[in-house]
């Protein structure tokens, strides 16, 4: 850029990495810059989020009436399958790691880029190809297996486009494996001088733990889905009881991935929230090492608990007991984190800006979701609650109440860094509060419905459940509005927002020492780190 650029020009064009790599569409689609790739991901996953959201809206509309008059059973099955597949693999899994993680991790450790920039871009293209397959399956008539693809239904009976979706998820799985690989190698190799492991922000620890899970769990899903595809195509019968194969074996493989996948969704959220809390109360995190190691132990223990999804699938009683105990164990490091966040806040002066409202909302909703997870981890209770709306409410509290709240909190917190602009604080606070209210209104009634015995995955229900279902659908409307609001005020801030300056939150951390938006290679001089991550004057 030449020095004669006027400030008015700079305002209309952005600055830093937003213009330095070129302004054409192609310069974005061929970029190696981790910041631009993070934005490519953000655009893509936002699109998928609203596609999955449309499916959710259809589900909630259908459930206003007990007779399922809007969607036929078959269409309903396809709708919740699409909702699940899109929200899990095309939104939640890549949400924080591929957007905020991509954008922030090199900045936070003082690196110029990721270790493998080309691989990073390749991961995004894999994501898009996987997305195309999944959308194609929808356009060709959808899939009705549920996001879990349980055999033998998915292999022998379903007449829908299972193979297309399985290929889509297989491909997007490799996108997440390669993102994890990149984040791990970057954290190991690219840290700035003086940035040793216990000086890393907790967000980086969270990304590291998440990446380990991505790399070790996702290949299991990939091979398992390949076997489903091969069984449909070529009659390979590993899950086929007619050949002596075992449908339960599929469940073991699937949950060996899909339970750890829950931690792929929640660990990054924990990392984001740790940053937001420290900044919102302007204090050092309480128990830094406990926070870091609790994330790694969650990642590790998370591999040993998959059987809690199979208490009623015919596994032995002893296996059930062991998986139950291990599931209780994994709650310990999670509880450590909640207590440490609360202790960090204790007697502090809390600044209730929008990111902090999201973070506090996260703590409340995650705690409730985690506690009800313990109900489900107890075999005796789970036998009654399994396959009811109680389970639906539980995992939405973790994934939507937890992960999505943290994701949006992070988007708001780092928005000034990403775009160089401030958003309207008042509207952002209203949206955050509305989201908390709308979320509880949608999903708390589902706990009660499940407790009263309403099963999940049916388009009809008994008339006595109607009141709570209506309440839940009203909540979903509120929630939908609160999700649409940021599109408008964040979008508006791109053009009209005040310039943010390098550090609008008076935050610590290397990402705030460079300009907003950062230059193409992040820092004009490689930073030298001399202290820990949260040196707020307490």
């Amino acid at each position: 850029m030449n020095a004669a650029v006027t400030s008015a020009d700079a305002e209309s064009m952005g600055s830093g990495y937003l213009v330095e790599g070129g302004r054409t569409l192609w310069s974005w689609l061929s970029t190696r810059d981790h910041k631009r790739i993070g934005i490519l991901y953000a655009v893509a996953i936002t699109t998928f989020f609203f596609m999955g959201g449309v499916a959710a809206t259809l589900i909630r509309l259908n459930l206003i009436y007990p007779d399922g008059r809007m969607l036929s059973a078959e269409t309903y099955n396809k709708t919740f399958t699409f909702h699940g597949v899109v929200m899990v693999w095309f939104f939640l899994i890549p949400s924080i790691p591929a957007t905020l993680g991509n954008f922030l991790l090199p900045l936070m450790i003082g690196a110029r880029d990721m270790a493998f920039p080309r691989l990073n871009l390749f991961s995004w293209y894999l994501y898009m190809v996987g997305g195309l397959f999944t959308v194609a399956a929808l356009l060709l008539g959808g899939v009705d297996t549920g996001w879990t693809f349980y055999t033998p239904y998915s292999t022998m009976f379903s007449n829908s486009n299972v193979i297309l979706v399985v290929v889509g998820v297989f491909v997007v799985g490799f996108s997440s494996i390669l993102t994890g690989l990149n984040l791990i190698v970057t954290t190991h190799m690219m840290r700035a001088p003086g940035m040793h492991w216990y000086r890393l922000p907790l967000f980086v620890w969270a990304m590291y733990a998440t990446s380990v899970v991505m790399m070790l769990a996702t290949p299991v899903l990939a091979m398992t889905l390949s076997l489903i595809g091969l069984e449909r195509l070529a009659g390979v019968g590993i899950f086929d009881p007619a050949l002596g194969g075992d449908p339960i074996l599929f469940q073991h493989f699937f949950w060996f991935y899909s339970h750890p996948a829950v931690y792929i969704m929640i660990l990054p959220a924990m990392g984001v929230v740790s940053e937001l809390i420290c900044n919102g109360v302007h204090r050092k995190i309480f128990g830094y090492k406990f926070m870091a190691w609790s994330m790694l132990s969650i990642a590790f223990i998370g591999f040993l608990v998959w059987g809690h999804h199979m208490f009623v699938a015919g596994q032995s009683m002893y296996a059930g007991i062991v998986f139950s105990i291990l599931s209780f164990v994994v709650a310990v490091p999670s509880a450590i984190k909640v207590f440490n966040w609360l202790t960090t806040l204790h007697k502090g002066t809390i600044d209730f800006h929008a990111p902090m409202i999201y973070a506090l909302g996260f703590i409340g909703l995650f705690t409730l979701g985690g506690m009800t997870g313990l109900f489900l981890a107890a075999v005796a209770l789970d036998v009654n609650l399994t396959d009811t709306y109680f389970v639906v409410a539980h995992f939405h509290y973790i994934m939507v109440g937890g992960s999505v709240m943290a994701y949006l909190g992070g988007i708001h917190y780092w928005w000034p860094k990403v775009t160089g602009r401030m958003y309207s604080e008042t509207i952002a606070r209203i949206a955050a509060v509305l989201m908390f209210v709308g979320f509880n209104l949608t999903f708390f009634p589902q706990y009660i419905l499940g407790y009263e015995g309403m099963p999940r995955r049916y388009h009809q229900y008994l008339p006595q459940f109607q009141d709570l279902n209506i309440l839940s659908s009203i909540g979903a409307c509120v929630l939908a509005i609160s999700y649409l609001m940021p599109l408008f005020y964040l979008g508006h801030s791109l053009f009209r927002g005040e310039a943010a300056g390098p550090n609008p939150w008076q935050a610590t951390g290397l990402e705030w020492t460079t300009s907003s938006p950062p230059p193409e290679h992040n820092f004009h001089e490689t930073p030298v780190v001399t202290h820990g991550p949260y040196e707020y004057c307490d």
């Binding site: 494996i177 190698v185 299991v220 195509l233 019968g237 590993i238 194969g245």
Partner: protein, 217 residues
Amino acid sequence: MNASVPDAAVQQQFDDAPQQKDAAVLGMWAFIATEVLFFGVLFAAYVVCRFRFPLAFVAGSARLDFPMGTAETAILLTSGCLSAIALRQIQLDKARQSAVLLLVTALLGIAFLVLHGMEYHDEFKEGLIPGIRYLENGPGAHEMELFFSLYYVTTGFHSLHVLIGVVLLLIMAARTWRGTFGAHYHTPIEITGLYWSLVDIVWIFAYPAFYLVGGAG
């Protein structure tokens, strides 16, 4: 990207060549960890199915071409050894020898694929391929079909990895011949060699699991 000679291959995000090399090697090890879990699913399924139907697995294994499988094993292990020597030669700055060794490694990989293709062809003639041409019937035929399912999926995915490895080795051989690499810079050869070892190791587990359980019967 356009710095002078020793740094020519150092990309902008790295400080120096050793950092870039360590990153590449760590990346390949991490990828290998992923691959172990990828194939691990098949070996786990193998254990479950064989535990359930030990006799069908013995019967199925006896139908495989044991001498051919053994020859393939010898070929693949030899090629693994040669790729290690190729790395040693380039470390000693002997680019021409290294290039030839890499080429021979790739040719052995192709030989492996050809022999395995011949095996598949014979099995097709005998009607042992589930879903495509499976002519066995009578008691135990279904359970044996399970054995062959696992055999084809495992060796099929393995052969795909061999094919990718052959392509990588041919590229490395050509680049080494043209003098791209030397004692100062040979990271791509090193990580290709690492990948080729993964291909070897998967086979070292697959060979006894499929070919050696039917011998005594």
